[in-house]
Subunit: 323 residues, 2 copies
C-alpha cells in the first residue's frame, strides 16, 4: 500500500480501545500492508467488520496469526499467557510478537515460556488511553506524542526491536526502552497508583450516608470530577493490572500512605506551614508536564466553558432601579 | 448601565481568579452599575487597573466598601475575619456582605461577629475554578452552569438572599441553598479530600528515589497528569481550607483510608473479584456527572490530540519491501 510499510501482515488479537486504535493508525500511516483482527466476543468481531478498520476479521487467535509478521496482543494482561499458548504453534518463523500491557514483568513471565524458538518477543506498552473502551472508542491519533515503552530482554534480536520501534514511531509515538522491572515501578507511580486512588475516592464518595449521590454529582466541579475520569476505565483491564503488578503497587501505596499521614497530622495540629510548603512544590510538577507537551496548557484541561446567558434568568428579583 | 442591574455599586475585596472573574462577568451581564476593586498587593491593584475590569481601583478595604450595596470578600478563607473587622465601620446600612470561600462554618464564625447590625451577611460559595491564580486568570464565563451555594442563617433577610441569588443567576450560575454545616461536609468530599489526595500523590511521586522526576513527567499520561491539575491550585487558599474545615476533612479522610485499606488487602491477597466489583461501580458516577452537564462527554476531558505525523520519522528501520 505504501512505500513505508514496515510489516506485511499485522495480526491484532483484541480490538478494544488500544487494538482498534492501532488498526486505525497503522492503516492511516501505511505502516503495514494488511491487518487481520480477531476478538473473543462475536459482537466485537462483528463491530470491527462494520467499522471497516481491518482487512480481515477472523474467529480464532490461531487463524489470526497465520502468515503474520507482526502479532500484537491487545488483551488484558491476565489473558496474555493463555493467548500465547493458543497461537504458539501457528506463528510464522521470524515473526515478531508484541503486546500493549500496562505491566511487563508478569506478561513476559506468562508469554515467553509459551513461544517457540525463532519467534521474537518484544514487549511494548503504549502509555496512552482514554476512559472509554471497546472498538468504537479507538482513534488513529491516540498515540501521537505519547510514549511507547519497549522492554526487550538483553538477548532479543536487535533487528526485531528496531522494526517495532519504527512501527510505533510511524504511529506518532516516542519510543523509550527500559527493563521490565523498572517499567513496572515507573508505571506503578505514574499510572497504577493514580488509578487505585481514583477508584477508591469515587467509591468512598458514593458510599457516604451524609452526602447524597446527587450532591456528589452536582458539586463535582470542586475537584472530584477530575478523579472520575480514570475511575471510569475498563474494570477487567485494571483488575489484571493490580494482580500482575502487586509488589510495585504495594510499595508505592506504602509511600503514599506515609505522605498522607504527614499531611493528615498537619491538618489535625493546625500546622499551616507544612501544608503550605507541600502545596507550593507540587505546582512545579504540573508546569513540567505542560512544558514537555504531556498535557494541555489550557486551564481546566481545556474543558469548554459555555457562554454567558443572554436571557434574564427566571425568578429574578426586582432590578436595583425600582428598589 | 443596564435595566437588569441588581446592585448599584459592587465592591470586590481581592482580585484573584474568582474576584476578577466576578468583575468581568458582572460587567458583561450589566449586573451592577459600577465596580470598585481593591487588593492587598500593589502589583495586583495595578494589574486590575491595566486590565480595565473595574470602574475604580482603591488602596484600602475601607475605601472600597464606602457606598457599596454589595461587598464580596474574594480572599482566602483565613483572611475573611480580619477583612470584616477592617470594613465593619465603613459599610453602608442595608448593604449585603458576601464571600466566595470554600468553607462556610469557619467563615461565618469569623465574619458575623464583626459586622454591624443592619448589614446583611449572605455567605456564598461558587463551586468553580481552574488551577490558575491571579487577576489574569479570571474570565467572565467561569460560573456558567456551575453551582453557587448560599448558606444564609435562618434569620437572614429573605430580600437580601433573593437579590444575591439573582446576581449569581445573572452570572450564569445555578443557585442552591443549604446549611453551612452540610456545605462543609459536601465540599469535604467533592472538593477538599480530592485536593488533599492530589497534593499527596504528586508529592509522593516527586520524592521517589527509584523513579526520576523526568520519568514521572514523561509517562504522566498513564493517569498521573490528571492529579497534577488540582495539585497546582493556589497553596494559600488551600492551606486555609484545610485549617478551616478540619473536622469534615478528617472525617472524609477516615472513610477514604478504610476504603483504601480494603482495596490494598484485595491486591495483597490476589482477590480479583473484589477489585472488579469496585472498579465496575465507579463507572456509573462518571456517567452521572457527564449526564447532568458537570463535565465534558469527550474522552480525556476533551484534551486535544495532535495529528498523525506526515513526515516519516527519522531513524526508521528499512521498509518491509526491501527486507
Amino acid at each position: 500500500m505504501s512505500a513505508q510499510a514496515i510489516f506485511n501482515r499485522l495480526a491484532l488479537i483484541g480490538a478494544g480501545l488500544i487494538g482498534s486504535s492501532i488498526a486505525r493508525a497503522a492503516r492511516a500511516q501505511g505502516a503495514v500492508r494488511s491487518i487481520v483482527v480477531t476478538a473473543r466476543s462475536a459482537a466485537t468481531r462483528r463491530r470491527v467488520a462494520e467499522l471497516g478498520i481491518a482487512d480481515q476479521v477472523v474467529e480464532t487467535n490461531a487463524a489470526a496469526v497465520e502468515g503474520a509478521d507482526l502479532v500484537i496482543l491487545c488483551v488484558p494482561v491476565g489473558a496474555c499467557g493463555e493467548v500465547a499458548a493458543e497461537i504458539s504453534s501457528h506463528l510464522a518463523p521470524g515473526s515478531i510478537v508484541s503486546d500493549v500491557g500496562s505491566v511487563k514483568g508478569a506478561v513476559i513471565r506468562d508469554v515467553l515460556s509459551q513461544l517457540p524458538a525463532g519467534v521474537h518477543f518484544v514487549p511494548a506498552h503504549p502509555v496512552a488511553g482514554t476512559e472509554h473502551s471497546g472498538p468504537d472508542a479507538g482513534f488513529a491519533e491516540l498515540f501521537v506524542n505519547r510514549w511507547c515503552i519497549l522492554t526487550p530482554a538483553a538477548d532479543t534480536d536487535p533487528g526485531a526491536v528496531e522494526r517495532l520501534t519504527g512501527f510505533w514511531r510511524l504511529l506518532g509515538a516516542n519510543v523509550e526502552r527500559m527493563s521490565a522491572e523498572h517499567h513496572d515501578l515507573v508505571l506503578g507511580i505514574t499510572s497504577h497508583l493514580p488509578h487505585l486512588i481514583a477508584y477508591t475516592i469515587v467509591g468512598t464518595a458514593d458510599e457516604l450516608k451524609q452526602v447524597t449521590r446527587s450532591e456528589v454529582l452536582q458539586f463535582s466541579a470542586g475537584g472530584f470530577r477530575d478523579f472520575t475520569r480514570i475511575a471510569a476505565s475498563d474494570p477487567i483491564m485494571w483488575r489484571d493490572v493490580f494482580l500482575a503488578n502487586k509488589d510495585a503497587v504495594l510499595e508505592m501505596l506504602g509511600r503514599f500512605n506515609e505522605d498522607l499521614a504527614t499531611l493528615t497530622r498537619a491538618i489535625r495540629r493546625g500546622d499551616g506551614e507544612t501544608l503550605f510548603q507541600q502545596f507550593s512544590r507540587t505546582r512545579a510538577i504540573r508546569r513540567g508536564i505542560v512544558e514537555i507537551g504531556q498535557d494541555s496548557p489550557a486551564p481546566d484541561f481545556g474543558r469548554p466553558h459555555p457562554e454567558l446567558p443572554h436571557e434574564v434568568p427566571q425568578e429574578l428579583p426586582r432590578p436595583y432601579s425600582s428598589a
